[in-house]
């Protein structure tokens, strides 16, 4: 009887397998959750969100703002965080003293100029402070200097110098021909404005500085976006100036619902950031969440929107981008109308769109500009290209080294004959070619424009041809690699193409270790990651999972426009219908 029981006890091999089956996923899970906890601790996102630590600051409703004339909503006046600066220096109303204070603050900034003058008939002493190059001098001469010095009319009936308050009133309302005027008592703030291109007017007797906005930055004109060219569609792209960019969006069409909320980001180099959405479309919770995350940004300087993207995205360990970046205003507008929100930042032509679903990365404005059949077919082609660029080399490796039975006989014969004399294993062979293609791509990017195409020829033709003739790689691989590379470039979003190219290498290793089974495993891994991934609360596989037929109307196929009546339901827009 005991023998029967003992026979049932599994051997060591089986026990070991059992332990491994439990332990490997368990420890993987533990490692991941540990890493996640670590990430939270490092960025202390939660703490910052509650405001207990510094971060991006909203301009709207912030105290200390003394705007006198209401400028447009997107005006580029930024609020300063003075609380870190220690003592606050204010103007006293005595010109000499104030000038002295100002000069002390700007002691090591020799590009700050002072122009002293007397105001019109009352001969009150005043001074203009500006920076060479940043200030529009013509404008300053015409609209500030000239009216001030010629100011006889306003003071016609006055014998004495008017009270400070009256003087200020007269200056603003009758003399200065400047639309944006701000009054501040804070010397630091006025210095900051001067350094950003405004002119500061100090007047004897007024205990404050008038900040007159007349900045003239050298900006790039509106040009065609280079990274997302389309054949049919708007040729205009964003440029580096925030006000230009917001203006482009405003000019897209007349609407009173386009909100632009201004934030200041960057602790040391303060920059303006604008959150834009359509008030009666975008979901409130989404807007609040984006605002909350912007406030958590805690960094010296936001050089590019990529910084913001990385600081506010959901999962920084994911290879997929959860925020879309684009240079195209039409793309931003389309996203806003779907109920998404966008972020624009001063100094970069790349706007951020969030939340993002996988399908969006494979869409181009042309899909909608062209007729629907063409648009659908091209979109289908892109899905196909994405699959190729992700799996083609992996399938090549697994077919050749594990599943020769899956290749059609005649192809198998020609592959065998073409691989005669190739000294490397399939993985090494594929890696050699893939890596050289990546190097070529990177090199082509860095090269000056006239040399770029030459580089393509050298790389594509000579290296490919020579490698085949030298017997280092087989000709079939060259085809696979080039088809893969071309497919990955067909992604309308360059960064999405990069993701696929990166994952391709992982797929190749999986294929080399386990063959087709490995490729399937890799696909499952990717799928399970994508299913779990969320972008601002919206599932990343959004349009496909959870499955709603409504969403399929504009996913792989684009139905005719008259059928696209609704906005994507996942975004829970306030107004779910586009029409009707």
């Amino acid at each position: 009887m005991w023998n029967e029981v003992i026979e049932l006890i599994p051997s060591w091999g089986v026990v070991f397998q059992g332990i491994m089956i439990f332990c490997v996923p368990f420890f993987l899970l533990r490692t991941i959750s540990w890493a996640k906890a670590k990430e939270d601790r490092i960025t202390t996102r939660a703490e910052k969100a509650t405001g207990s630590k510094g971060g991006g600051v909203s301009n709207v409703g912030a105290s200390g703002r003394t705007s006198i004339l209401e400028g447009p909503e997107e005006q580029s006046s930024s609020e300063i965080v003075t609380k870190d600066r220690g003592t606050r220096i204010t103007y006293s109303g005595h010109l000499k003293e104030d000038l002295q204070k100002f000069k002390e603050l700007s002691a090591d900034m020799h590009d700050v100029n002072v122009r002293e003058l007397r105001i019109g008939s009352i001969k009150t002493r005043a001074a203009l402070l500006y920076v060479n190059g940043l200030t529009d001098k013509d404008k300053m001469d015409q609209n500030i200097l000239k009216p001030l010095m010629n100011a006889y009319q306003p003071f016609k009936n006055m014998d004495t110098i008017p009270e400070a308050k009256d003087l200020q009133d007269i200056l603003i309302h009758e003399i200065l021909l400047i639309s944006e005027i701000e009054l501040t008592e804070d010397t630091n703030l006025s210095l900051q404005k001067v350094l950003f291109g405004s002119v500061v007017l100090l007047v004897e007797g007024i205990s404050g500085a008038l900040v007159l906005s007349s900045p003239k930055g050298n900006t790039r004109g509106i040009q065609e976006p280079e990274s997302e060219a389309v054949l049919r569609g708007s040729r205009s792209g964003f440029n580096e100036t925030l006000s230009d960019n917001t203006a482009i969006l405003r000019r897209h069409g007349q609407s009173t619902e386009l909100a632009m909320i201004s934030f200041t980001v960057g602790k040391r180099m303060q920059k303006e950031l604008i959150l834009t959405y359509i008030k009666d479309v975008a979901n409130d919770e989404l807007v609040e969440e984006v605002k909350r995350r912007i406030k958590t940004i805690d960094i010296d300087d936001v050089q590019e929107s990529g910084y913001v993207e990385q600081l506010i995205e959901d999962n920084s360990y994911s290879p997929f981008q959860q925020i879309q970046n684009t240079e195209r205003p039409d793309r931003v507008m389309a996203a806003l109308l779907e109920g998404r929100v966008a972020i624009l930042i001063d100094g970069t032509p790349f706007a951020l769109i969030m939340p993002v679903t996988l399908g969006m990365l494979l869409q181009s404005p042309e899909d909608y500009n062209d007729r629907w059949m063409v648009g659908s077919l091209i979109r289908l082609l892109r899905f196909f290209a994405a699959a190729i660029s992700l799996f083609a080399p992996a399938l090549y490796i697994s077919f050749l080294s594990f599943q020769p039975g899956l290749i059609p006989t005649k192809l198998a014969i020609s592959i065998i004959s073409s691989r005669q004399g190739v000294p490397f294993s399939v993985l090494i062979e594929a890696l050699i070619m893939e890596i050289s293609i990546e190097i070529l791509r990177e090199a082509g990017l860095r090269l000056p424009k006239p040399i770029g195409p030459a580089m393509g020829i050298v790389g594509g033709l000579i290296i490919g041809q020579a490698a085949v003739e030298a017997g280092i790689v087989s000709p079939i691989l060259v085809i696979v690699v080039s088809v893969t590379a071309v497919s990955s470039f067909s992604m309308p979003m360059y960064s999405a193409g990069m993701t696929l190219r990166m994952l391709r290498f992982a797929a190749m290793f999986f294929a080399a270790i386990f063959g087709l089974y490995g490729v399937v495993l890799f696909f499952l891994l990717l799928s399970s990651h994508l299913i779990k991934l969320k972008s601002f609360g919206v599932p990343y596989l959004g349009l496909a999972v959870p499955n709603k037929t409504v969403n399929w109307k504009d996913f792989i196929f684009r139905m005719p426009l008259q059928f696209l009546t609704g906005r994507p339901t996942l975004l829970k827009p306030k107004d779910p219908l586009r029409k009707g």
């Binding site: 594990f402 065998i416 270790i513």
Partner: protein, 399 residues
């Protein structure tokens, strides 16, 4: 932080240590494309493996000949220049009573591993098929995971090995055999391709069936009729010649297209009819326990060649007359085939049994155990309806 690193190192190690687990680079593989099975007793050969080595006291029964491809050269240039003149296959024979052992014996002789994924044809010699149950012969091929169930089976009068020696330069016999079935719309001497998957069922169900017969013909190979495998024994009982096979094709309606040629009995003029489509229906009738069959064949086609004493315009009357002649010829062909099955082979392989089973299941149950013998006595009537749709581009007959 240390823990974190440790896990990274571990996971990387796991993948590196497993390496390219059970990977076999394709260039180190040898693709079997055909197998020929011969009886060793027939020729008296002992095979290549010398029984003097080791204690192999094996009863040498089957000579299995494997055909492999020779992948030619690297790159396109060499293939282009030499592609059509170099022999691109080679055969290796081994003798053993086990087919599996024979294939593993090959590993003593070649560096490259033989793989069965791309096996296309199996040719079995008459001698072997007459003396062995087919189930045993194909057991290895149906059991092996690599070998596809789409491998085609052939029998040959004579030695199977010879079939694999004959081909035009630049072509491998196995591929020729596989591709020859594309001509089914051209000639009715080609039976439907019989694959491993299609053989297993009839063998298990003790149903008789046909295997295409292939013979070496000058320097090539040729399909010549078909071998009949008797269901009850699983052995080859005989052959149908080319015209009998044609009769079988008409009986079963399995043809896609081909030629029907006959002479006008009055003036011995040639009439050639091109078959465009055919359809047959076997109706089983049971009258007081007496089974009889009625075969209805319908076909449409066109004149391919019409000869006459003098050129005359073709009209409905001529068409009607020719139709009758052709129909009579088809009936004769079918009768010959049925007679051969009934009287000579005592095997029914045309699907009469299936019709009876479907139409009169109770009757079938009573006769199925002795079906082949019962069939030999059953009267069969024929109805053929040909429809000559067109004359082609010429509306007169040739002189």
């Amino acid at each position: 932080m240390k823990k974190w690193r440790m896990w990274i190192v571990l996971s990387v190690l796991c993948s590196i240590l497993s390496g390219c687990w059970s990977s076999t680079p394709i260039e180190d593989l040898d693709m079997q494309i055909g197998v020929a099975l011969d009886s060793a007793e027939e020729s008296g050969e002992t095979g290549v493996a010398n029984p003097e080595y080791g204690n192999h006291t094996k009863p040498a029964k089957i000579i299995s000949t494997y055909q492999f491809t020779i992948p030619q050269g690297s790159g396109g240039a060499l293939m282009k220049s030499a592609g059509n003149s170099i022999k691109n296959y080679y055969n290796m024979s081994e003798t053993s009573d086990s087919i599996f052992e024979a294939i593993r014996q090959l590993s003593l002789r070649t560096r490259r591993t033989p793989i069965g994924h791309h096996l296309k044809v199996i040719v079995i010699s008459e001698e072997l098929a007459r003396s062995n149950n087919l189930t045993k012969l194909i057991d290895f091929f149906t059991r092996d995971n690599d070998i596809r169930p789409s491998v085609m089976l052939f029998v040959t009068k004579g030695k199977a090995k010879d079939v694999f020696e004959n081909t035009l330069p630049g072509q491998a016999p196995s591929f020729v055999l596989e591709g020859i079935f594309n001509n089914r719309d051209r000639n009715m001497g080609i039976w439907e391709p019989v694959t491993l998957a299609k053989v297993v069922g009839p063998l298990e169900g003790k149903r008789s069936f046909l295997l295409q017969n292939v013979i070496p013909y000058e320097k090539e190979i040729k399909l010549a009729g078909a071998g009949v495998i008797k269901g009850s024994t699983g052995k080859l009982v005989g052959f149908l010649d080319e015209s009998e096979l044609e009769g079988m094709v008409w009986l079963t309606g399995k043809g896609i297209g081909g030629v029907l040629k006959t002479y006008d009995p009055n003036n011995h003029n040639l009439i050639t009819y091109e078959v465009k489509s055919m359809h047959s229906k076997i109706k089983a009738n049971v009258n007081n326990g007496q089974i009889s069959f009625n075969v209805k064949v319908k076909s449409t086609g066109r004149y391919a060649e019409v000869f006459a004493k003098e050129s005359k315009k073709l009209h409905d009357g001529i068409v009607k007359k020719d139709k009758a002649v052709l129909q009579k010829h088809v009936v004769e062909m079918m009768q010959t085939t049925v007679k051969k099955m009934q009287k000579e082979l005592h095997t029914e392989a045309a699907g009469f049994g299936t019709s009876l089973r479907n139409q009169h299941p109770a009757v079938w149950r009573s006769v199925k155990d002795n079906w082949d013998e019962t069939f030999s006595e059953i009267p069969i009537t024929y109805e053929v309806n040909l429809n000559i749709e067109e004359y082609g581009a010429s509306d007169t007959s040739a002189e």
